[in-house]
Symmetry: C2
Subunit: 100 residues, 2 copies
């Protein structure tokens, strides 16, 4: 197995939609499902699928609650997610150094 | 279709092995197939497959020649590849701004 950094890129984060989700969550304490969906221009199904993958990896926390009688789902990055994203950015910067 | 930048990420370049290939080629006028393979820790088959995808997109030029009697394959980034990589890096930086 090669030690070249591209082999260490975490595909859970690298996938472009999940990367956009992780980046959006990095800039906020938490985001409401609908807000995230609108910000990234995703469908309910698409956002749900990618959030599930990120949740399984332990990178986001999904809280389902209510605002009055209306269901309210909020999403936040976990500390593990924050670390994984930081590692990802560092790896990517290393790979792209030569392109500058 | 959303105009969020993650939708504009070119999957041909974003795939992690192809990204590493493009980054390696950005730092050199051209690279010999075996050199690229060793640098990235790839198998012949893996590198060939990804180079074909990049060639189909017009991002690399593959030259098959001889050094003496030994076949020699060299790979170089095309101007279109250079532009695509630069656009990719710019898009990615935009998406990752919030994570800094």
């Amino acid at each position: 197995m090669s030690r070249h950094p591209h082999n260490l890129i975490d595909e859970t984060i690298h996938q472009r939609t999940r990367l956009a989700i992780m980046a959006a969550l990095a800039g906020a304490e938490s985001l409401e499902f609908g807000e995230l969906k609108a910000q990234l221009g995703l469908t309910d199904g698409n956002l749900s699928t990618h959030l599930s993958a990120l949740e399984r990896a332990g990178f986001v926390r999904i809280d389902k609650g209510f605002q009055g009688k209306k269901p309210l789902t909020t999403v936040a990055q976990t500390p593990a997610g924050r670390t994984a994203l930081a590692n990802y950015v560092k790896l990517l910067e290393g790979i792209l150094t030569k392109t500058k």
